[in-house]
């Protein structure tokens, strides 16, 4: 966790309000729209079963996906690392003499730091999702999986777009539309992410509201989709389940505005579409997650953002307080697995009230609270803390001993000194009442 960032976020009333109202709106939208969905719990269970099955036979489905995509004229690029994925993209751009690339929103491309890499390679890469475009102009990172610029005021957006300070959201959107339209029509390569990879089709599925992913995958001569290798589902027909869950969980829409099911390049007789189609399958740590039987379900995630919107911690500390591109509850379980050596990541599972909301709203039923507990169980604890909790546990289980420690209550507040000082600096303990329950019981019942 980034402590300085947390302090700053908590101390900024405007930002607090922005995070709170945006997440409340998304969470309300989800709640209302899943209530209208017949058989919602059954669909969640089925989605979970399909994801579980696919992840447990990942090798089989990846090969099927590749076979089908190649048969339709596409190519699959296997990338062990972020570097291999980046190098493929810049290498292809260089080979084809492409200087301008348009990108639609993709968390995987954020994960592999594609934009910085392309910039260093002398290739202009333009983010085309409105929120991502704003973030790119401001040289920042996405604040939320599905609402990357939720922390920005319209004045800040106006500044980034060099517009009048009092320009309306409609006006600002029109300015961005005009600027980006030129880029779409001039770009040599369009890069997208993928919400799903469909094995029996050899297809990528992209879900969005603005139309920028459609443009990125349709206007340029080359389309590159970059996706984590876990995004796969077995059959096109499974989308009837997943599409119903994804948009509802993300924004509360029954379906997002655009769902593109793309299987290879333009075919003979088709009016338009890219002449070349590449799918970059990214590992970048995913196979390590796969090896952990308890936690491999983290790979079921379809990146809807529902766990962020419903998390009391995310809603206070916001997206930048987390050490990696994936924030909120899902970030808390992904980051320590992808970055086992990162010190900040190791404490993430403790930044949770264990309220369980994330698990309840997850459309594919990832047991996030359970995984958080597993991390806590397995974490290295200082010997003093271990000893203290062992004593505490014993005392709490032995009423006679507990009675003996009654005098501790008279302290009212634990002394903020020694090892307790650091522990207490991050915790607020409740005020104790004058008499304990046991004392009150004795007084009233036994008189």
């Amino acid at each position: 966790m980034k402590l300085a960032q947390i302090e700053q976020t908590l101390g900024d009333p405007r930002l607090q309000k922005a995070i709170y109202s945006a997440t409340a709106r998304l969470a309300d939208g989800r709640r209302k729209s899943v209530a209208d969905l017949a058989g919602y719990q059954d669909l969640r269970e089925r989605a979970n079963q399909i994801k579980k099955h696919t992840i447990e036979h990942l090798d089989f489905y990846l090969e099927e996906l590749e076979r089908n995509l190649v048969a339709r004229g596409g190519q699959v690029i296997w990338a062990n690392t972020a570097e291999e994925a980046r190098d493929f993209v810049s290498g292809l751009a260089r080979e084809r003499g492409v200087k301008l690339v348009v990108k639609s929103k993709s968390m995987t491309s954020e994960e592999i730091h594609l934009n910085d890499h392309l910039e260093h390679a002398g290739i202009e890469a333009v983010e085309t999702d409105l929120g991502e475009y704003i973030i790119q102009l401001a040289h920042e990172k996405p604040y939320h999986i599905i609402a990357p610029a939720l922390h920005k005021t319209r004045e800040q957006v106006a500044e980034a777009l060099h517009a009048d300070r009092d320009a309306s959201p409609e006006r600002l959107t029109a300015i961005a539309r005009a600027a980006l339209r030129e880029k779409f029509l001039a770009a040599g390569i369009g890069i997208t992410g993928a919400n799903f990879l469909v094995a029996d089709a050899g297809a990528v599925v992209i879900v969005e509201n603005e139309g920028n992913a459609r443009l990125s995958s349709s206007a340029p001569a080359i389309h590159i989709a970059i996706a984590g290798m876990e995004k796969i589902i077995p059959r096109a027909q499974d989308l009837a389940i997943f599409l119903k869950l994804l948009a509802r969980s993300a924004t509360g829409q029954p379906l997002s505005v655009y769902t593109s099911f793309l299987a290879g390049p333009r075919r003979a007789g088709e009016a338009d579409g890219p002449g070349e189609f590449y799918l970059v399958l990214v590992d970048n740590g995913r196979t390590r997650v796969l090896a952990d039987r308890e936690k491999r379900q983290s790979l079921y995630c379809i990146r809807c953002g529902a766990c962020l919107n419903n998390c009391p911690v995310y809603r206070k500390i916001g997206g930048y307080s987390y050490p990696w591109v994936y924030s909120g509850p899902i970030g808390k379980i992904l980051t320590p697995q992808f970055m086992p050596d990162s010190k900040g990541a190791q404490w993430l599972p403790f930044a949770s009230s264990l309220c369980g909301a994330c698990g309840e709203v997850c459309p594919v039923k990832i047991e996030i609270p359970k995984i958080l507990l597993e991390f806590r169980r397995d974490s290295a604890k200082p010997p003093a803390e271990k000893a203290a909790f062992r004593i505490f546990s014993w005392v709490m289980r032995h009423p006679a001993a507990y009675e003996k420690f009654r005098w501790l209550r008279r302290l009212r507040r634990l002394p903020a000194a020694g090892p307790l000082k650091a522990w207490l600096s991050q915790r607020d303990l409740p005020e104790l009442p004058a008499r304990s329950f046991r004392e009150e019981w004795r007084r009233r019942v036994r008189g």
């Binding site: 296997w78 029996d200 297809a203």
Partner: protein
């Protein structure tokens, strides 16, 4: 050659790690396909579709014949630059096919048909239409036959179990292009069309529409 050689090895490395992580397993037997087939060919589809699309900011108009469609559209199209697809129904309404990239980029209105329409979400489904025609112009008009309206996603994937076998792209369009990226305020027409008008052609049971007052 060098790149091809490197690709093969990355592939083997990744699949090797996947197999090592998962260990030995049985041949995969996927959970059964699940399509909810409870709702079917209901006469209320048109009304459901209208309500869903209207709620998203689109409009729906019913006419009996292509001539009526043309008559309805003519005054709206006077002096407006139009691009249109090469679909039988669009031609029957009197529009000449013109869907080059340049035409799509310059047009104010793109006119297409659709392969299906999903009643419960107000969605248009394109398998055979030019992609840019429903994307580049700021306004989109889709002229569809009444019979193209089906229940929803489940029926779509029942009728088209494998979209990849039909075309390189299947696109589902559910309302006008939109964003809420600036202070969560809904704005229509970001990159795709901000206006969608669907003309449903063909006489059929009108009872549902008449009962609700119609247009």
């Amino acid at each position: 050659m060098k790149r091809a050689g490197k690709k093969i090895s990355a592939r083997e490395q990744m699949l090797g790690r996947v197999r090592a992580a998962l260990g030995k397993r049985e041949t995969p037997v996927a959970p059964p396909v699940y399509l909810n087939k409870t709702v079917k060919s209901d006469a209320g589809f048109v009304e459901t579709f209208r309500q869903a699309l209207t709620a998203l900011g689109g409009s729906v108009v019913e006419v009996d014949t292509p001539e009526q469609a043309r008559a309805y559209l003519e005054p709206k199209l006077a002096g407006v630059r139009v691009a249109a697809s090469d679909t039988a129904l669009v031609r029957a309404c009197g529009f000449a096919a013109d869907f080059s990239r340049a035409s799509c980029a310059a047009a104010e209105i793109g006119i297409t048909s659709a392969d299906f329409a999903l009643a419960d979400t107000g969605t248009l489904v394109f398998l055979s239409e030019p992609r840019l025609l429903s994307l580049l112009p700021p306004r989109h008009i889709a002229i569809i036959e009444r019979a193209k309206i089906i229940a929803g996603l489940d029926e779509l994937f029942e009728r088209v179990p494998q979209p990849a076998a039909v075309a390189s792209s299947m696109v589902l369009v559910t309302g006008p292009s939109r964003t809420a990226d600036i202070e969560m305020r809904l704005v229509r027409g970001v990159h795709g069309p901000g206006e969608i008008l669907v003309l449903i052609v063909g006489s059929g049971t009108r009872s549902t529409r008449d009962a609700s007052g119609g247009t």
